[in-house]
Amino acid sequence: MSAAEDVVAEGHQAVEAVPKRAMTLGTGTSLLVLAVLLLVPVFVKNFIIFQMTMLLIYGVAVLALNILTGGSGQFSLGQSAFYAVGAYVSAVLMEHFNVNYALTIPVSAVVCFGFGFLFGKPALRLSGVYLALATFALATAMPQLLKLNFLEHWTGGVQGLVVTKPDAPFGLPMSQDMWLYYFTLAVTLAIYIFSVNLLRSRSGRAFMAIRDNEIAASAMGVDVALYKTLAFGVSAAITGIAGSLGAIAVQFVAPDSYTITLAISLFLGMVVGGVGWLPGSIVGAAFIIFVPNIAESISKGMSGVVFGVLLFLVIYLVPQGARQAASKLR
């Protein structure tokens, strides 16, 4: 019992580490980052552009987890399930119903919001490591659910679905990769702005009040159950959008792309980026995309070990993640 409580307490501390004031970047830094994100694709090869697209997509997924954990204080190791649902909604709509790729994204968001909200209901009874376990179960179940026989006609079963990559519209003279990058960037920026607005609003304060003290939040009139499930819904909706974008960028969905490994990567990304610090999401995403490659380039046979050592170094040197590194630079 006490061991479990220790873990819960430690986890809680990680959540509490970031005060709300340090949630965003200053205006100057934000504009600089935006300029880099806008200009770099003009100068690099398509493969790099594709990687940058994936960086944004994972950044969105990490940000979604950040709203849930950093905002409302709830853990999730099940984000891969919401990502999968988003990806499949887009793939099925595009390939079976010829829906425009851009229109599938709001549909994903709505479907995943509902899924996350409903999942959040039973999860209300759980907190800390127990909630992490419940979401872990969800992540484990999802690939198998996607392989179900009676869904095979729509999902393609184990084989998955191939997704058509969209061309740039209005005859714009840019490659598919570049167009998709800018499309993803626009969606990412919108989500970032909406998320910052949300966390700074009455609803966001309710999330953080619950994270810090549920009984006091309730005494102030905050409907704890409602806001906890809303946080799950919002997080799932944003993760679903990331899943949709991912399906379009990768041009393929299959059950085994969305295993627990993805969920753990996103969790890792959140911790490396700094729990509760939204700009850190992109740093965390960069870590989970590029560090495994770097590890492999250092030692092919021992890449897992090298990754582990690099991760350990990050946790040891900057336990609060990129946020801490950024504040040291200032």
Binding site: R202, S218, M220
Partner: protein, 261 residues
Amino acid sequence: MLSGSNSPLLFIRDVSVVFGGIVALNGVSFDMHKGQILGLIGPNGAGKTTLFNCLSRLYQPSSGDILMEGASILTRPPHRIAEIGIGRTFQNVALFPNLSVMDNVRVGTHARTSSDIISDSLRLAWIRRSETDVNKKVHEILAYLDLEEVAHTVVSGLPFGTQKRVELARALAADPKILLLDEPAGGLNHEEVYVLGDLIRRIRDERHMTVLLVEHHMGLVMSIADHVVALNFGKKLAEGTPAQVQADPDVIKAYLGSKDQ
């Protein structure tokens, strides 16, 4: 100021709370009238905090009823207590430690405002207007309680006395009709207690609130309360003016020990 003949603001009748086999409250009844400062006293385990938690709906009485302005509060979930005008502070300070003073007080306005996640995300015009009103109100309260200097400080780093004031500010932000104060003097030094007593009286007079004060500090209760209810072992032992309760032989035996504690 006291309106004794009118119907009470808060009406507590035969409230009993049983935990397992232990009777924490046993048929406690008293009324609170508008504008009163009612002191609830008693030694540890007398049932003061249990009664408090019934009022904020954290505990469900096993029998009896609590009426606020004539309507029972016992069917309300805990988060729907603030909206009917019952605000509270906590014994050991229950602030939101990672939020700034201002955000803590802003959460206090939750029951008096409305929003939804879509409008909040898009920062629609009506949300911006509502936030402007909230900020105005919060600044007024911070100024009232002399907290403006620390408005943007994260509360966990503030001294205990200041945190207690922040908690009071958060409670005031919900415009309560009844303010429940759970041992507000706990952990304060002699001078701070004196200032606090003055402040509670000012809040009652200037902000037209009714105050239920649970307190160990007899000096504070006896100096500011209009009416005192004494509990022991979950039962009401005495009720009356501070002088009456202080003179009650049972009370002296049970609680006060010596007169000038």
